[in-house]
Symmetry: C2
Subunit: 225 residues, 2 copies
């Protein structure tokens, strides 16, 4: 039963240089992840069968189970990869050396753009949907995703509070406020399927600009109010 799962991490060195050990070919792994991503994101978690995934990824079901222990692990692997890619891109924008408002604008625009991608919307839907039954999936996703972004933005705000540009008691909280604000009228309707296509660049920029205006007014240093 466990034979397939506990692939005993075949030491790279005793592989004869040529063909990758079973379940270790990175190219095939990507092939599976991408196929599975398409299936999961269009069908949801429960309604996607591993047979569907195998077909879409052009891989036999047997191979699927060599690369991934089970359906849940396959799904979390997909999430992890996409999430880490997106998050690092987002966080790199929070440069405290550059002008405050322009950084915030770029940052907000990027966050909102990524959150609007169909795949990302689908992933959020799935994770939220299974959170009741599979809490670890939900918490891990949240903590390695949204929470990290909020924390990083909080630190960024700290810097500008210290510089006197803002007056914020709880910068982490303010960060979550900003991140909620930019999503207004855009993300929620998409989550529920009331809107089916991503917002235009204009809508995104308008949302971000409005959020920045409101936050800077609301958290302006006391002497400026």
């Amino acid at each position: 039963m466990e034979a397939a799962h506990l692939t005993p991490e075949p030491a790279r060195e005793d592989r004869r240089g040529g063909r990758p050990a079973a379940g270790t070919d990175p190219q095939k792994r990507r092939q599976i992840l991408e196929g599975a991503g398409r299936i999961f994101s269009t069908t949801g978690f429960d309604a996607s069968s591993m047979s569907d995934v195998a077909r879409e990824a052009r891989v036999s079901k047997a191979t699927l189970y060599v690369y991934f222990q089970d359906k849940e692990h396959l799904f979390t692997a997909i999430c992890a990869e996409r999430r880490d890619r997106n998050i690092s891109e987002i966080l790199s924008l929070l440069d405290t050396e550059k002008p405050f408002e322009s950084v915030l604008t770029e940052f907000g625009t990027e966050v909102l753009t990524i959150l609007s991608e169909p795949f990302v919307v689908a992933a959020h839907r799935i994770v939220i949907g299974v959170a009741e039954r599979m809490p670890e999936v939900g918490t891990e996703f949240f903590e390695r995703g949204p929470k990290r972004v909020s924390a990083a933005l909080g630190k960024f705000l700290d810097h500008h509070v210290a510089a006197g540009r803002l007056e914020i008691a709880d910068t982490y909280f303010a960060a979550t406020q900003f991140l909620e604000l930019i999503q207004a009228s855009i993300i929620r309707p998409r989550l529920y399927g009331a809107i089916t296509s991503p917002p235009t660049r204009d809508e995104i920029e308008k949302n971000v600009a409005s959020a920045i205006a409101i936050m800077t007014a609301g958290y302006a240093p006391r002497e400026q109010r």
Copy 2:
């Protein structure tokens, strides 16, 4: 096959006053809705079986299918009932005659309190989770729920814009901003299961107060800025 579904709406008048016609006893209907609510909200949609529901509601599976056409209709019926109850309660608070800030405080507090109820969180999770596969469920939920609240709040804001207390170009949009703001740090983590218990009254009031402060600053009439 359809016999059970197309219960030909037995005209009330030719029922002999006594026992309710099959599938029409409101007490039994409630009994089913409540049992099903408990099952769905703790197990999710896909993972709940109709047999589980029947057991929890202390009703036979056959009866279940006399009262509700299928699993989806049962679920949407639950949503509809709860939603309509909650929404009408919320909207009744938007009294334009009472003081602006206190109404907004009460309103925001009530919205946030309801959104934090375990059952409501579970319902949102489910609807979002199935939105990809069952778009009608998601859109109906959104439009008869969040959208109505935003619209009503928008109208409320209109009134106070006219009174010169605020300066808002798009009040519907501002309403969605306010509704997102009050949820900051509270609702999202719960949706993902990173927080498992409802917020305290203090947290709620703090969130609402902060949201109001930010919004009034951000949308203050120009001469006050």
